[in-house]
């Protein structure tokens, strides 16, 4: 069976260039259609990027559905300004086709190509950033965005038919599951950085990864002084 699900912004991405209408994180303003909770482009080429909520755990592979994933956002701008959808994945940024404002709120649905090329896989969405960029800004124009989400079309295992085999059992042959990379984020303070540079290594952990039996430790060490694991 295939499903379409909506992924919403879950935290800030690599760029926060738009100005929130109220004093809070931009990504928290992107969940609803409230015209009073928006972000505004303060300058030409302002870029906002957001990480997304996770796909359901039953997502097994992408559905063969052209047009997905679909990046939706709602913006309001005069005809002298334009806003474009943006993907960022694996350090590569793709800017979609800019849309001209019409003086009212309008919904944009676009599906820029996968950054870096190739086919989308379910693991992409744990590290994908989605957002928008003000590509044209008319003098004195107020350009607003009030909501963003990403639609993903995926299949679970029921998409692969069960058939009776010669033992009387029903079984199905599943294609290989898409690789599901896991992203670990380690935030280092200035003190941590100084420790690494002076003493040669710093370690963070234990870090629990969903689905893993054991937590892991992440270590930075001065090249080539990789001394992790010695004596264990």
């Amino acid at each position: 069976m295939s499903f379409v699900t909506f992924l919403n912004p879950s935290r800030a991405g690599d760029s926060t260039g738009w100005t929130p209408s109220i004093g809070t994180a931009n990504w928290t303003l992107m969940a609803d259609d409230d015209d009073a909770t928006t972000v505004q482009a303060p300058a030409l080429n302002a870029l906002d990027l957001y990480y997304l909520s996770p796909l359901p755990s039953i997502a097994y592979n992408m559905a063969a559905a052209p047009g997905y994933p679909l990046l939706d956002f709602w913006f309001n701008a005069p005809a002298t300004s334009q806003v474009a959808p943006v993907w960022k994945l694996g350090g590569v940024t793709v800017v979609g086709t800019p849309v001209v404002g019409n003086g009212a709120w309008q919904a944009i649905a676009d599906h820029p190509a996968r950054p870096g090329g190739g086919a989308w896989h379910v693991g992409d969405f744990s590290v994908l950033q989605a957002g928008f960029k003000c590509t044209t800004l008319g003098g004195g124009d107020v350009v607003l965005v009030r909501k963003l989400n990403v639609q993903v079309n995926y299949v679970d295992r029921s998409a692969f038919a069960m058939v009776a085999d010669n033992t009387g059992m029903n079984s199905a042959t599943y294609p290989p599951r898409d690789p599901v990379p896991v992203q670990l984020d380690v935030t280092m303070s200035a003190a941590n950085i100084a420790t690494v540079d002076v003493y040669g290594s710093v370690t963070f952990g234990p870090i629990t990864i969903p689905g893993q039996v054991y937590p892991v430790y992440v270590s930075l060490s001065r090249d080539p002084l990789v001394n992790l694991g010695e004596g264990l």
């Binding site: 990379p181 380690v186 540079d197 060490s221 694991g229």
Partner: protein
């Protein structure tokens, strides 16, 4: 299976004593399986984290066991 990815880093945040540094690592299914499979499993990621954030190039390792150094 996806090839292991090199470590990637975000830009430093803030300035002076408030500097923070976000290290983003992406592990494949094969790497995750390796970490769960053996007591002393460790994965040295390809590439290094380089200046200007650090004065010296840094290697990044993910391991199942606590390293000999103190844990932050």
């Amino acid at each position: 299976m996806a090839a292991p990815s090199p470590p990637s880093t975000g830009p430093p945040l803030g300035t002076g004593t408030d500097v923070e540094f976000v290290l983003s690592l992406e592990l494949s299914l094969a790497q995750l399986a390796t970490l769960d499979a053996a007591f002393d499993a460790k994965i040295e990621l390809t590439g290094t984290v380089t200046p200007p954030t650090f004065a010296n190039a840094q290697r990044v390792t993910v391991s199942r066991q606590v390293p000999v150094e103190a844990v932050v």
